[in-house]
């Protein structure tokens, strides 16, 4: 194994220890012990704003009305703070990690599979939550999570959470699917028109499906797979590959593929389903019966931020009740701010998206970074670390 040959195993070991603590993800309050991020200081007070801020975000998080005139929470921010917003849409957590390494950006909306990597590498700085007044209204279940804090120190401001969905063309896929088997065992029915998310983390979707369909594999956590479980997931995906028309990472590409009918079934985000439907595609998106993978996002500040004051203003803005409600409704996710639920245009929104329902979130397997020490707490086996996932993903695509 390549890992064993790295002389500077100490650094790796530290990272592994840190991530081991993330095993208990989901339940708030447990801080990651053992992770020793570089000693960085959070600011104690804010200074004058710098006039601009550079953000890395998921599609739909930083909207200025150019995609949908009704979705605009950037102009009001610019007017209020004088911070000009420059945003870059990232297609995957890996891309976010890469972009943050450039040091060109001030803040990032990192999911759980990116946040700890950013903390461990020192690319993300600790955040002084006292400087973000709206933080006090964030759901307790999102505070001090294993994915966004270390030893009680927050490294960002929670943004929202949601599940990855199965989307299908209601005219071409009949009967309506209820299970992820539609993109695995039964994928051949739509040979050449199945799509999947183009990122190694998608292997977890296959593992989640195997968790309920092949109990003998005893998968507990789709991000903690030993070699046997991992091989089963990979072979399922290799089988799926024969039916895949194209993989998507650019969300606009998926919208266009569903509009034209080049893709008729596959994994998606709510925002993509909304966009495709608004452009006339006959699609429906839902959580299949096996449950789903998902994400819990955190706005983090770069340790090399050139505009930290504007970045803090943005952090406070994006979790303010009104804006958090807007972005949550636009993207189709549960807001992080408890008071956002009163601001949504659909008064049932928070109920539908289970915003305060911690039991529901236990069923969602939030994106996490797989490491050699099994995240589900098993001590007798070694799990397959993320760099092997990356390699396997290349092999799956062939």
């Amino acid at each position: 194994m390549r890992l064993n040959r790295i002389p500077r195993a100490a650094a790796v070991a530290a990272a592994l220890l840190l991530a081991a603590a993330c095993g208990s993800s989901g339940s708030g309050g447990s801080s990651a012990t053992g992770l020793n991020p570089p000693a960085l200081k959070a600011p104690t007070k804010l200074g004058a704003t710098e006039g601009q801020v550079n953000l890395i975000a998921w599609a739909g998080y930083v909207e200025d009305g150019s995609n949908d005139p009704k979705a605009d929470w950037v102009h009001a921010f610019e007017k209020q703070t004088g911070c000009q917003v420059h945003s870059k849409v990232a297609a995957s957590s890996d891309e976010m990690v890469k972009l943050m390494k450039t040091g060109e950006y001030d803040a990032v909306s990192a999911s759980g599979d990116a946040s700890l990597r950013l903390i461990a590498s020192g690319d993300a700085a600790p955040v002084n939550t006292a400087l973000v007044p709206n933080y006090k209204d964030v759901f307790a279940g999102l505070k001090n999570g294993a994915w966004n804090s270390v030893k009680g120190q927050m490294y960002g401001i929670p943004h929202g959470r949601g599940a990855n969905l199965l989307m299908y063309n209601t005219q071409k896929v009949k009967p309506a699917p209820t299970s992820w088997s539609a993109v695995f065992e039964d994928a051949a029915r739509h040979k050449g028109h199945v799509t999947a998310y183009d990122s190694p983390i998608y292997i977890a979707d296959a593992a989640l499906y195997l968790k309920s369909t092949r109990p003998e594999l005893r998968i507990q956590d789709p991000y903690a797979l030993d070699q046997k479980q991992f091989d089963a997931a990979v072979s399922l995906l290799k089988q799926q590959n024969r039916s895949v028309g194209e993989y998507w990472s650019d969300y606009l590409k998926e919208v266009s593929a569903f509009k034209s009918g080049d893709s008729v079934i596959g994994t998606t985000w709510q925002v993509i389903a909304n966009l495709a439907a608004s452009e006339g595609a006959k699609v429906r998106a839902f959580v299949p019966k096996e449950g789903s993978t998902g994400w819990s996002d955190t706005w983090m500040v770069s340790s090399r931020a050139k505009h930290p004051n504007c970045a803090y203003k943005w952090l406070n803005w994006i979790v303010s009740p009104k804006v958090n409600a807007q972005v949550a409704e636009y993207f189709g996710e549960a807001p992080a701010n408890s008071r956002a639920c009163a601001e949504t245009s659909d008064k049932n929104f928070c109920t539908v998206y289970h915003a305060a329902d911690e039991d529901y979130w236990k069923k969602i397997a939030f994106w996490n970074t797989p490491i050699a020490q099994c995240l589900d707490g098993r001590k007798d086996v070694r799990c397959v670390p993320y760099d092997r996932w990356v390699q396997a993903w290349t092999e799956i695509k062939g």
Binding site: R8, D94, K98, S121, N241, E246, V390, E395, G398
Partner: protein, 297 residues
């Protein structure tokens, strides 16, 4: 060059300077070459050297930070993992297919623009061939995505014959790349055909050769080096492309895609993969050099 400048300038000081340069060929050569050579050596070869060197490093598997420890693991993986071999073969295959298609399509077009069309139309035709190069690469590739998508132009055109378009995939990639790089093949062939002395064709006809025979024995041997020169463009541009295949290639992966996906998480592996096209291109150029085509570039 120097004598041209001499004749054109005509003023005393310039003439003297030109004269002194003319007497010192080594100084002339040094002045002429130092700037571009510096560019070539430092920026061009230098970055290639950095690329090659970083292929021997590794990364921290959790944070993806580059760890500068000497290891040959990346190349070991490159040679032993079947998927890398498949992708390399596929990429070279695509580049060769695009080159062959370009050559076959470019020849008749160039023959028309260089020899058949009326002389006063020829420059306009050349401009027309070049116009696609003025449009954005992405616009052209996305246009092809629309043409090839379900119910798109390709499907519509082929429907009367009971056929459907190729859809997204390897054939779509080859087709789109052929469209993109065709002008680079037409131009050198056009130039070669335009310079073909007419009396050679007449002589061939006088000696009783029919069109086919003239083409094979006179035209083709004289134009082949230009085809090879054009193929250097089409081959290397196709081998390095990773955007077209993302847009119209469906799930197809080429070398560029592997480099792109690794550059985020495993820079040294991306560097190791990046040396593959460099080696392939060098081998291709060495092969082309034997045809003498590089002289007519």
């Amino acid at each position: 060059m120097a004598t041209d400048a001499n004749a054109a300038a005509g003023r005393g000081s310039v003439r003297r300077l030109a004269g002194s340069l003319h007497r010192r060929p080594r100084l002339r050569l040094a002045l002429l070459l130092s700037a571009p050579l510096l560019w070539l050596a430092v920026l061009y070869l230098g970055s290639l050297a950095v690329l090659f060197a970083s292929a021997f490093w590794t990364t921290n598997s959790f944070t993806s930070q580059v760890v500068r420890v000497w290891t040959t693991d990346n190349f070991h993986e490159l040679f032993t993992t079947p998927v890398f071999r498949e992708v390399v073969v596929r990429s070279v295959g695509v580049a060769l297919a695009v080159t062959a298609l370009c050559a076959v399509l470019a020849f008749p077009v160039a023959f028309y623009t260089a020899r058949v069309a009326r002389p006063r139309w020829r420059p306009l035709l050349v401009v027309a061939i070049l116009t696609p190069l003025w449009a954005s690469y992405l616009v052209k590739v996305y246009a092809w995505r629309l043409i090839l998508s379900q119910g798109g132009l390709a499907d519509w055109l082929l429907a009367p014959f009971g056929l459907s378009g190729p859809g997204f995939g390897l054939p779509a990639t080859v087709l789109t790349l052929t469209y993109l790089w065709l002008p680079y093949m037409i131009l050198p062939i056009h130039t070669a055909l335009a310079q073909l002395p007419a009396n050679l064709l007449d002589a061939s006809a006088d000696l009783g050769a029919r069109a086919g025979r003239t083409f094979r024995s006179v035209v083709l041997p004289m134009v082949l080096p230009s085809v090879a020169a054009g193929s250097v463009f089409t081959f290397s541009l196709s081998l390095g492309d990773y955007i077209t295949v993302q847009i119209v290639g469906g799930k197809t992966q080429l070398i560029g895609n592997l480099v792109y996906s690794d550059i985020e998480l495993n820079l040294p592996m991306a560097a190791a993969l990046g040396t593959v096209p460099v080696v392939v291109i060098v081998l291709y150029l060495l092969a082309i050099r034997r045809t003498g085509a590089l002289n007519s570039l």
